[in-house]
Structures are given as C-alpha cells and as structure tokens.
C-alpha cells in the first residue's frame, strides 16, 4: 500500500502568488495513496527539508512528491533529504509547478488547476516507482593508450605520473609517431627530435609504463572500468629482451634495398633495421618481405653476427590479454594519397614532393643529412614552389571537405627555414587563404613574408608540368587577375591529412562512432571533447580531428586527466535509471542491440522452463547496467515490450499520460 506524502512549496511568492498552494495541498490530500499533504514557504530550506524528513518518519511515507521548482534545480536536494530520512532516493518525484506553471501563467484559477494536475501526475508516477540502487563495479587501475605518437606519449606520461599503470600499444616498431619524422616545429622552430625524444625515453624508463611496440589491438571486451583487451604482438623476429640495439645486424644485412618508410621512402634500409637512431624500444625488427632468410631459408647473417643472440627467425605473432579501466585512443594520421590529383604531377616527377617528404629532406638525420637537395639529381633547388590546400577543402570527392588545419603553419615554417638556410632560393607559396589562428601564429606567418621575403601568391595551381627539366607551375594570381607560370626546381604539396586507416576497425571494436571523414566522434563537441559516447574511452590527437602539436598535447593531457579521474575511483557508481530486459518475453531478435549507442546489450542463450517439465533454450538480451546510459532507445525498438527503463518505465509514463489527461 502506498503511503505518499505531498509537499507543496510556496517558493516565497514565486509559486504562491499565482498558484493557490493551499488548494493544491488540500486537493492532493484526497488522492488515492496520499496520506499526508502540506504546503510550506521554502521546501528547499533547511526547515523545509526537516519538515519533509519528519513527515517521512512520522507518517512512515513510502514516497514523496515535492511540488516546487524544476527537478533540474532541486531534485538532487530532495533525493538527499529523502535518503537522510531512510527513504530510497528514487522514491521522490518533483512536480514542476514553478517554471512550468506559476511563472508562465497569470490567472490564479488556471495555474492552480494546472498545478493540481501536475501534482497528481507526479503522484501517479510515484505509485509505480521502485526503489533503485545504483550498481557498483570495480575499476582496474590500469590504462591502455592506443597509439604511441606524441598524443599517446603525453597521455601515457601524465597517467603514469599520477601513479597508474599504462600500456602503450603502437603498431610500428617504435613509438614517436609522426612527430619523430618532423624537422622543426612551429611557431618556435624547436628541433622536433630535441623535444620529443626525451619524452620517448621517459616512457621507456617510467616504471608504470609498458610499451607494446609492433603490436595491435586485436579484441576489446568489457566496459568502463573493466575492459579486457587482447593485444596482438606481431612477430619481429628479434628477441626484444636480448637485443641491445647495437646495429651490427643492420650493417651486415645483405638485403639493403627496402624502402625506408621512416624517411617517407626517400631512401633505403636493410631488411633488419631500427627505424631511427633514437627509436624506443631501441630494438631491431626484420621485415619478413625483404629478409632473405625468412623468404628462402638461406642467409642468416644477422643471426651469426648478433652478439646478444637476439635473432629468432621462428618467432610467431603472439597474443596477450590485459585488463584496463580506461582506454585512450591516439591513433594519429597519415597524409592522403595523391592519386586523385594528377594535375600536380606527383607521380611523374620526383621533384614534386609532399611536405612530410620535405621534412625528411631537411632533417639532419634524413636521407640527405639535412642538406636540401632535389630528389631527382641531388642538386640544390633554386626556385621552390609550395602549393597549399592539396586535397583539403575539396568537396568534389577527390579530396577531403575539411581544412587540414596544420598546413598553413608548416608551409610558412618550411618557407622560412629554406630562406634562412639558403638565402639564394626563391620561395613561392600558392594559397587560397592563410589560416593562422593561435598564439604567435600569425606573427610567425608574417615573419615569413616580411622578414624572409617569401612570395605568397593568392590563387590555386592549375597544373604542374615538366618542361626541359623545369617544373612549370601554372596557377592563378587572383590579386593581379593573372595567370602565372613559375619555373621551379622543387614543388612541395601541402597534402591534406586523414585519420590513420586502422581507426575504422578500432572504432568497431570499441563501439565508438566515426564520422563521414573517419574521424572519431567525441561525446559532445563542446562539453565532452575528449570523451567518447562509450564510457571509459577517451580521444587524443588527430584521430578526433586535425590539430597541431600544442593542441594534441593539450588534448592528450585532458584525456589523461579524465582517465586519472576515473582510475582514482575504487568503485564506479552507475546511474540506476538503466534499461533491463524481461527474459520471459524477450525473443532475442537483436533489434535493441542495433539501436544501443553504447553497445550495452549482449545476448545469451539461456534455459527456460516451458511447462510440462520441459525446458527450452532461448536467446535473450542482457543489459550491462554499467554501460547503459539510460536513453531508452531500446525500449521503443523492442516489439514485445520486453525492454524497459528503470525510472522511466513504460508503465510509469503511461500512468503519467493517463493522469495528465484526466479532467
């Protein structure tokens, strides 16, 4: 039997001036189930709350309805009040008679009538409320960072510094990512390696950080606080624990024709290699496609020369299963393929290069040891032309519709560096717009123009063609309304960037959503920029959208702080207003799982009694309350009505409808 108490608040005159609160409390006193109904000046005040607590004890109330301001204001307050008096906090309903009644109506009669209806509706709902207890789950105090670029490194270091274990999974043989390939960084022109490699070393030496290099995420199970991840360690044919990184194997390897991907394929490397000098882990890896021993069984030189006896041609892919409380996705980017942009002659001319290739050409550790030379003939280029927005802001279907964000700045950087190092070089930049928001960014760009005399031409390039060994860059100069053709020695394309392709597969494994450009979608564009809709998964770096290094680091630290906040908890208290399936009526049709944005629904085959002493196995849905966020999408999709939502059950809402329509 219900023993409901109704408490009508005056809110000073906010409610009482338009709603006859006395009439409301009297009318409600006669409602079936109501045993106590009063009104008071300020229910949310200490005295008001005490009045409620006393009434709960005195009248042994089973639930309370507070007719007051919006539940968004004081629902939490009154739930605490109820709890303090020994009532389940979910046995509280609020009738919003201020924002949705007294404040918008002038006529006392009308407002009072409406207030009574709203109060009755709340009572009607309350009669079907059930005490709810938020479920609790433990938290595995370890985080997984997927991707070992600057985003992953920063996130891992921040989390580890807070005292939690972190695993980094990096698909390449070394961490470092794209930033390791860069020469200098804008807007300060620091050497990229100088600021990155110490962080890489920190990672390697941090007692809380464990790096799974040359590894990939294979399977993800579980939910926030309790992920179970299977990591695939690809065979590198070198025992990581033994290899000292001395490099003897590299010098002795007879198969030296492999393209050096770290150097953007601009030069070659041996079949056994360490990607670059400061690689972390500083351990060799064998490219099985290139290794003579692995392909034909002959050779074995590296094994013979290895003093540490680290070479293991029989190594296989291996799998480890680890548990994590949180996951940071930091899978980074790659430049887009230029196959749709024949007009720039990238495929046909060695001297048409991408900006990332230029980074390697200018890098002291690069293929030309830092001397800028033309890839075709090793000559010093005298006229260099940059083309911006190659594949960015392109809705024609050939490129990407978005702005890649970093190109304006790095092109200015390149132009400036070249002019500084080789003052005899003429540098031209074709641009559509120069976009330089950011601290000291526009100043940086202006320096390129004003101090270094870089020739910025507003207009886009129509085509690049080779004429007598010169690259003819034909484009518009919109300011002069002219078509110009610049004979250049080197053409640099500011190629658009896109999320690393591995992210698509990963998104499916993590049940996180992906936009039309394959960027991962954050939970809220403004207020939850590093969270995913799937609880416990966070985003850092370009996998979420184009960004430069400072932004990436900031986001990585933000994601890390979210992870730390999560791992700091011993128990995760769930929202008890979650979905639940009635196994007796569930048919296992799987429609609910299809609409669940959180992947909270799974299916299992369960045995049920069907009468006559018989049983049958049936597929039924099961909701993980720790993952469910309580949107209710599944409840409407379920044709049999087996799926319902605590706190907003179908019966409760129908009862509200009934009560509202009663007149």
């Amino acid at each position: 039997m219900h023993r409901i108490g109704v408490f009508v608040c005056h809110c000073g005159s906010n409610i009482a001036a338009t709603v006859d609160v006395e009439r409301v409390s009297n009318a409600l006193a006669h409602e079936p189930g109501v045993v106590h109904s009063v009104n008071y000046q300020y229910m949310c005040s200490e005295n008001g709350q005490q009045l409620i607590k006393n009434a709960i004890k005195e009248h042994n109330l089973s639930g309370i309805v507070v007719c007051s301001c919006s539940p968004r204001m004081h629902e939490a307050t009154f739930r605490k009040t109820a709890e303090a008096a020994g009532l389940n906090p979910y046995m509280v309903e609020i009738a919003n008679i201020r924002e949705q009644c007294s404040w918008i109506h002038k006529d006392v009669e009308e407002a009072t009538e409406k207030a009574i209806v709203l109060a009755r509706t709340a009572v009607a709902k309350l009669t079907l409320n059930k005490p709810l207890v938020a479920g609790e789950t433990g938290v595995t105090k370890r985080a997984l960072v997927i991707g070992g670029g600057i985003a992953g490194i920063q996130a891992a270091l921040d989390i580890a510094d807070a005292g939690y274990e972190v695993d980094i999974v990096e698909k390449n043989p070394t961490i470092g990512g794209r930033m390791a390939q860069l020469d200098k960084t804008f807007p300060t022109l620091d050497c990229s390696a100088c600021i990155l490699t110490p962080k890489m070393v920190d990672c390697a030496q941090h007692e809380k950080i464990n790096i799974y290099s040359y590894s990939e995420v294979d399977k993800v199970k579980g939910f926030v606080g309790n992920f179970k991840v299977t990591i695939k360690k690809k065979a590198r044919y070198v025992d990581e624990t033994k290899c000292t990184g001395c490099g003897v194997c590299m010098t002795n390897c007879p198969s030296k024709k492999g393209l050096n991907s770290f150097n953007m394929d601009l030069n070659t490397r041996p079949a056994i290699y360490i990607p670059f000098a400061q690689a972390i882990p500083n351990v060799a890896v064998i490219d099985p496609e290139q290794c003579i021993k692995l392909k034909s069984g002959k050779c074995g030189l590296c094994s013979m020369k290895c003093g540490a006896n680290a070479i293991d041609y029989k190594q296989q892919d291996s799998f480890v299963e680890r548990e994590y409380g949180a996951i940071v996705v930091a899978t980074g980017f790659k430049p887009i393929s230029l196959e749709n942009f024949n007009e720039y002659g990238y495929a046909d001319n060695k001297d048409v290069i991408t900006s990332l290739e230029l980074e390697r050409l200018m890098n002291a550790a690069g293929p030309s040891k830092g001397t800028l030379v033309r890839p075709s003939d090793g000559e010093h280029p005298h006229v260099i032309t940059f083309i911006q927005c190659v594949g960015s802001r392109d809705v024609s279907g050939c490129g990407k519709p978005y702005c890649s964000k970093i190109c304006c700045m790095y092109t200015a950087k390149h132009a400036m560096l070249i002019r500084e190092k080789y003052p005899d070089t003429q540098v031209n930049v074709f641009y559509i717009d120069v976009r330089t928001p950011g601290k000291n960014y526009d100043e940086f760009y202006r320096r390129a123009v004003e101090q270094y005399g870089v020739n910025y031409i507003k207009g886009m390039v129509g085509k690049v063609y080779n004429e007598n060994g010169k690259l003819m860059v034909q484009g518009s100069n919109l300011i002069d309304n002219e078509q110009v053709t610049i004979a250049s020695d080197l053409v640099v394309l500011a190629t658009a960037i896109e999320p690393d392709p591995s992210v698509k597969d990963l998104a499916t494994k993590l049940t996180i959503s992906i936009d039309t450009n394959n960027f991962l979608t954050e939970a809220h564009a403004k207020l939850k920029p590093v969270e995913c809709a799937t609880a416990g998964v966070y985003l850092a770096g370009v996998c979420q959208g184009p960004k430069d290094i400072p932004e990436t680091v900031a986001q990585a630290s933000a994601a890390a702080s979210k992870v730390i906040g999560l791992l700091a908890k011993d128990k995760l208290k769930g929202n008890p207003c979650v979905a639940h399936a009635n196994e007796m009526t569930c048919t296992g049709c799987s429609q609910c799982a299809e609409v669940c944005p959180y992947g909270a629904i799974t299916y299992e085959n369960k045995e049920f009694r069907i009468g006559g002493g018989k049983t049958e196995k049936r597929r039924v849905a099961s909701v993980n309350p720790a993952v469910c966020q309580g949107c209710g999408a599944c409840t409407v999709t379920c044709p049999s009505g087996a799926m319902d939502l605590h706190g907003f059950s179908s019966a409760q809402i129908l009862k509200e409808v009934e009560a509202i329509c009663k007149r």
């Binding site: 006669h30 409602e31 079936p32 069907i610 009468g611 006559g612 009934e658 329509c661 009663k662 007149r663």
Partner: protein, 342 residues
C-alpha cells in the same frame, strides 16, 4: 401465412424499426454481419452465412457489467443494467437459432446470467428458412431442419416474395402491428422450396456426416488419442473459429480506467488463445494441441454429457469457411468417426 413482395421489404424494415431496434444482416465494407437497420442500410437477407453469427444481440462481444465512480478516496458502484427494451432480430438461420438454445443452456441455468437473460427476454426473433444450402453446411448432422426454423416468426424468401408465419404470441403481436403491410397467402411456394433445398442438401458431401462415434466413445480414450497432435498442428491459435461460432460462449472480465473511475466489462474470450484461463498459478493448457482438443472435446463430448446429449455445434459451417489454415470441426468429426480408434 402472410407474404410481402421483396420489392417492398424496405417498408417492412422501416415499419419494424419504427417501434423496435431492428438487428439484421447488413453489408458493410464488403462483408455481411448483423447490424442495426437504418435508412440506406444495405440489408442482405439473401446471404446464407453472415461472418459473425447473431449471438451478439444477446451476448455482445463486449458488454459493460458495472461501473465504479471514484472521487478522491470515495468509490461508488453503479449498476449499468438497463431495463431492456424489446428489439427484433431478423434473418436468423435455423442453425443460428439452434445456437441460442445452446447459449440458453449455459447462461439461463444457475447461476443465472442476468445480462443475457434481460436481452434474451426482450428479443423478438424472426428466423429465416434456408432457400439454398452450401457444401459447408451440416446442420442436419445435429438434427436441425434448415427449411423450417422456429422463433417468434419464421420467414421464407423466394425470388418474388417473403413469406411470413408467426409462431408465438410475441410473433403474433408483431404481425398485428405491421397491419396491411403483410397480405394473406395460401399457396405452396414454401413447401416447394423446402423440398428443393432438402434434395440439394442430400447431394452435398457433408449430408452423411454423423457424430455417432462421439455418442458412444469413451471420453478418456478420445481425450488421450494421438490424433489431436496431427489435427492441430497447423493451428495458429487465433480466435477466428471461436469468434465466428454461434455457440462459443467463453468470456473474460476486464476493467478499464475511465476519467472518473473504472468500468468493468466482459468480452469474448477464445479457448484458442494462449492466455486463455491464465491465472496467477499458471495455465491448465500450455500447448496449442491441448487448446485445440479442448475446443472440440467441449463441443462434441463435454457439453453433450452435461446437456442431455445436446452438442454445442450447430453445423453452420462458419469455421469451415473462415479458418485461415483450413482446419475445422468437420475434419475432427471425420477423423474420429470415419475410422475407429485403434
């Protein structure tokens, strides 16, 4: 005997409906069911089998039983039984008329169903002899004479006239009220038609259908027969057969919350439904086979055992025509009658 030309039937309907609500076969949206006569209604007296039987007029598909008026914490109980005004049901075929007898055996014995009783007493029944028979008809199996039904008034129709014979005081009174509309008739059109119908009935495939095997059969043996499984396997568990049946009388009592209280009403239930007689403790019949068996055991075995051998099937053939999957009582009767159980 009196008669009226078919051309003047609308006048007859108007005259009757002037004094009584008149309930008769009416075509609506392409189907013929019993409905109230009103100006412009498409009366289809010629149709042999209405989709639903006329049992609705005494035992409607839904019927309010009582109301509870709730005000605050006060509850008032309201009796909704009205003093029933006389009404006329016209066009009732012999089989359907016999079905009233079956319903009477259920509702008019202790405990008396006063809702049914009130309507039954207020109803004036005009039966309509069959001028043709269909291959799905088997009323004679249950001793019903399709060409000579009773009721308060019996009518016959041929291609020209409607012939009218009052059988009871109620019928005589109604005849008198109609005055000159009906004229005296002395010919033998009725007898000729009767003979012809009987002759055709004899030729139809179900003419020789008999229920003898059920009369003498052992109830437990019939119940435990393994034939039921095969007979019922296509049954979808819908209620078509029970809802078009003129004798099915099961109902459920339910409540509806109105704006001022609660209305308690009853509505037809079907033993074919999987929640039939479901209670907190469970269900007596959990499989469709059991439900299927119940329906026919009831009609052909249990009911006769409790009612001096009267079957609760009248051979109207509606289930034969309407079962979506071609199941029907004829198949059951033949299965148990045609071959002796081993």
């Amino acid at each position: 005997m009196k008669k009226i030309s078919l051309a003047n039937l609308n006048e007859l309907y108007s005259a009757i409906s002037a004094n009584y609500p008149l309930y008769l076969p009416v075509e609506r949206a392409g189907e013929v069911n019993y409905g109230y006569y009103e100006e412009g209604a498409k009366v289809r007296l010629d149709v042999l089998k209405t989709v639903k039987s006329p049992k609705d007029c005494f035992f409607p598909q839904t019927e309010d039983l009582m109301k509870f008026k709730v005000e605050g914490q006060k509850i008032e109980i309201i009796d909704v039984r009205e003093h029933a005004k006389p009404f006329v049901v016209m066009g009732v075929r012999a089989c359907d008329f016999k079905a009233f007898d079956v319903l009477d055996r259920v509702f008019l014995v202790d405990p008396l169903d006063t809702y049914y009783q009130t309507k039954r007493e207020a109803g004036i029944v005009i039966t309509h002899a069959c001028g043709k028979v269909e291959e799905s008809c088997f009323c004679k199996t249950f001793g019903i004479d399709p060409v000579n039904p009773l009721g308060d008034v019996t009518v016959w129709t041929d291609s020209e006239n409607l012939y009218w014979r009052a059988n009871t005081e109620k019928g005589e009174a109604l005849t008198k009220e109609l005055g000159d509309l009906l004229v005296e008739y002395q010919g033998n059109a009725v007898e000729e038609q009767q003979a012809k119908v009987n002759e055709i009935y004899a030729k139809l495939p179900l003419a020789s259908l008999t229920t003898e095997s059920f009369k003498n059969g052992d109830m437990m043996e019939l119940f435990n027969s393994d034939k039921w499984q095969k007979l019922s396997e296509a049954c979808l568990g819908c209620g078509t057969c029970t809802f078009v049946c003129p004798t099915c009388q099961c109902f459920d009592i339910r409540e509806f919350v109105t704006n001022s209280g609660v209305t308690r009403f009853r509505c037809w239930d079907s033993c074919m439904f999987n929640d039939f007689t479901k209670t907190a403790g469970g269900q007596p019949r959990t499989t469709q086979m059991q439900r299927y068996r119940q329906r026919f055991m009831h009609k052909l075995v249990y009911f006769p055992q409790n009612n001096e051998g009267a079957y609760s099937c009248v051979g109207c053939g509606r289930c034969v025509k309407k079962c979506p999957q071609g199941l029907n009582i004829v198949k059951v009767i033949k299965e148990f009658g045609g071959k002796q159980d081993a």
